[in-house]
Symmetry: D2
Subunit: 121 residues, 4 copies
């Protein structure tokens, strides 16, 4: 998160947003954000969203996730919005959307994730 | 790939390996390689493996992938090994395993991916 | 669809619902709807939702899907609601939720799917 | 499983095979095995494979799975072969391949699955 310059921009019970400003060194060969970076912020947002509903002293780990890359990830900034679908004692299922934002702040959906997080106590 | 220090270590038709030395700034809170980085090298290996079977002047994009994170990603180096499951004119399905290697080179499977790549000509 | 007694209950551009009444022979060992049946109605709803936005004389095929099974699939009836996330010329990404309905019609989410459909012309 | 005529044809620790003879009422509009049926036998094989490594008195449930449908599912019979990738105390990750067999017994891969099973004791 620190390496790529991402920041938590919203934390509510079960909902988390992460903001990432575009940087050339995070892009792939065509100048779009690398799929791995898109996935990293989506996964991090899912992890924090799950964690926000877990008991104190828990730890959260990603069990698995699936991501569909919908459009070239272009934008001046990117925001990953994660929301808990089902919180359980052991497993929590979370979905996340990643949007690219242009200079006017107009959002376009570039990827969507569905994943499973585990609570370790 | 450059940002994180990953390198192609093997390219054959339908099979690609990527090596990534461990670095502290690629780790998450417990010192293990971040899930996003594990995913990045797996996805890159899948993309190159699909690309290795595509006609000249093609481009490859990730449509979607799913990754299961099996163990804490610990190691001095990591290797992602991708292999094409089914190559098609438009879509190619690829799987990849990511291993952590200790100082003696002993491998432990840390993640496995199943993904779909598209050929753009 | 005929074999299991499922029926289309709603078809709009990009949104499709399928209803399935519970039957003992569709259940697994604990009396809940079998995961394969839950998946079948979700996948069918995704296929029809994608198809509803495709040009005439197209055919639709499932490329891949991922399903999270969230709760035991109990209910007198089940409804799968699919919605197109991103419609493309070749590939369409669709999500679906499957709900179990009790005798009062109260809904509980039992599964969620994220899948990719392809248009063949 | 009974409804569709599938049978366990091989059970070893961590490896399970399920056989399904083709039936017209299991086919979709083009005469190929319905994706939901392909998925059902793959998921069942994954569940049994995980279960084969669990302690006595356990129960197994599917947490999630992802399936790539690689070719039209044609054949006189179908076989799903599941193998445990990583067995854990709580979660077990399993992959499965589904093959169509022609009248000479020649196999063609039609689908591949990667899923997560949970052990309930």
């Amino acid at each position: 998160m620190g390496l790529i310059g991402a920041e938590l921009s919203r934390v509510e019970p079960g909902v988390v947003e992460i903001i990432l400003p575009y940087r050339v060194d995070l892009a792939q060969q065509h100048g779009y954000l690398h799929a791995g970076i898109v996935t990293t912020i989506a996964d991090s947002a899912c992890g924090y969203a799950a964690y926000s509903l877990m008991p104190p002293n828990s730890e959260v780990l990603s069990v698995e996730f699936k991501v569909n890359l919908l459009r070239p990830a272009k934008g001046e900034r990117f925001v990953a919005v994660a929301e808990v679908v089902k919180a359980g004692k052991t497993l929590t299922v979370v979905c996340a959307d990643v949007f690219g934002l242009d200079h006017e702040g107009k959002r376009e959906l570039v990827a969507t994730m569905l994943g499973t997080m585990i609570c370790l106590s």
